[in-house]
Amino acid sequence: MEKENKKQLDAKLLGQLFATMFSLSACTFGGGFVIVSLMKKKVVEERHWLEEDEMLDITAIAQSSPGPIPVNASVILGYRLQGILGSLVAVGGTILPPMILLSLIALFYDWFRQNSIVNTALTVMRAGVAAVICDVVINLAKNVLGTKKPLYIILMIVTFILGYFLDVSAMYIILGCLATGILCVVLEQLKKRRISQ
């Protein structure tokens, strides 16, 4: 039943998807994880399109495949909601704002560089962006703690130390956790086999 609904093309949903990605992309500064945390807030908390776990999985996939994280994440989100057409629409929404803006900036480059209002606005907006990410992180960390699984809590603390204090690149952190996960699966299987013997 649910699957059938998903397959049906929904012009309204496509429109909302485009508008959401467009506005997110137009208002986010900085690297990939910034846009992903805003996307989580918008898509999970405001629009209820995805479960929180699903959004985290999508982030991990978007992070570990090549290309810009926001583009990757919108490909997967679009696919989830409306198949390949959804992917195209979501990516269109994500890349249009920077394309329009940067084309204009390339044309009016000298004026833009010297404009103090533009500079100030861009700088103070970071405070708002930081607050949004902080809000998202509080919710996410609460949920990880809420699982009460020591492994997840330890992984969160260790990866934070690696990422923030030791500057380990995100790719190695994801790969390390992937390896940990596979190790857990292997251990589980061995345990099962021992019990059945």
């Binding site: 992070q63 570990s64 495949s65 810009p68 997967i76 890349i95 940067l102 100030t120 990410i133 990880v144």
Partner: protein
């Protein structure tokens, strides 16, 4: 070779090899545009990165559009951006297909379960580095009074309060902080 083709090939490679998002793409773009094809000087490239970082959107898309537009106008901008996302698009679509096909298997669940805490930490690292840029004058964690940007600290606190208490939307918060902050800086002299 035609510049348009050079640009397309360059950004196809940038898209394909920039694993790890934004900052990972910078050295790749530099290598292609400055070193291999000599389409820009190093100075122009430094300006490009500054602009790409302070405008919204992913850095590699911003760079692709900017380089394409400066060198070949609108066809250049379109072609560079298209080149930059073509391979990521195909790869992610494939991964999405497999994710939704297999994600309910218990083994896959265990592996994904271990990835989620890592994503939470990575997001918090990104948040902390933005916060550092936002509230410290010299962009390093130094709590000397003269190094603190009080307007930004106030904005951050108010925004966080609005988000936690009243669940205000993310876009409103960011645009609002931009407008209020800019007004404060221009109306109260001596702050800058």
């Amino acid at each position: 070779m035609n510049t348009l083709i050079k640009l397309f090939i360059s950004f196809l490679q940038v898209g394909l090899f920039s694993v790890g998002g934004g900052y990972a793409a910078i050295p790749l773009i530099q290598n292609q545009i400055v070193n291999v094809w000599h389409l820009m000087t190093m100075e122009e490239f430094a300006d490009l990165i500054t602009i790409a970082e302070m405008t919204p959107g992913p850095i590699s898309i911003n760079s692709a559009t900017f380089v394409g537009m400066r060198l070949m106008g609108i066809p250049g901008a379109l072609l560079c951006t298209f080149g930059c996302i073509l391979m990521p698009f195909i790869i992610c679509l494939t991964l999405a297909f497999f994710y939704y096909k297999y994600r309910n298997f218990s083994g896959v669940q265990t592996v994904l379960g271990c990835l989620r805490p890592a994503v939470v930490s990575l997001i918090s690292c990104a948040g902390l580095s933005i916060l550092t840029l936002a509230v410290f004058r010299d962009d390093t964690v130094n709590f000397a009074l003269s190094n603190l940007k009080w307007v930004e600290i106030g904005l951050f606190a108010v925004c966080l309060f609005l988000l936690r208490k009243f669940k205000v939307g993310a876009i409103k918060i960011i645009l609002g902080s931009g407008v209020v902050g800019t007004l404060i800086y221009f109306l109260v002299p001596g702050l800058v």
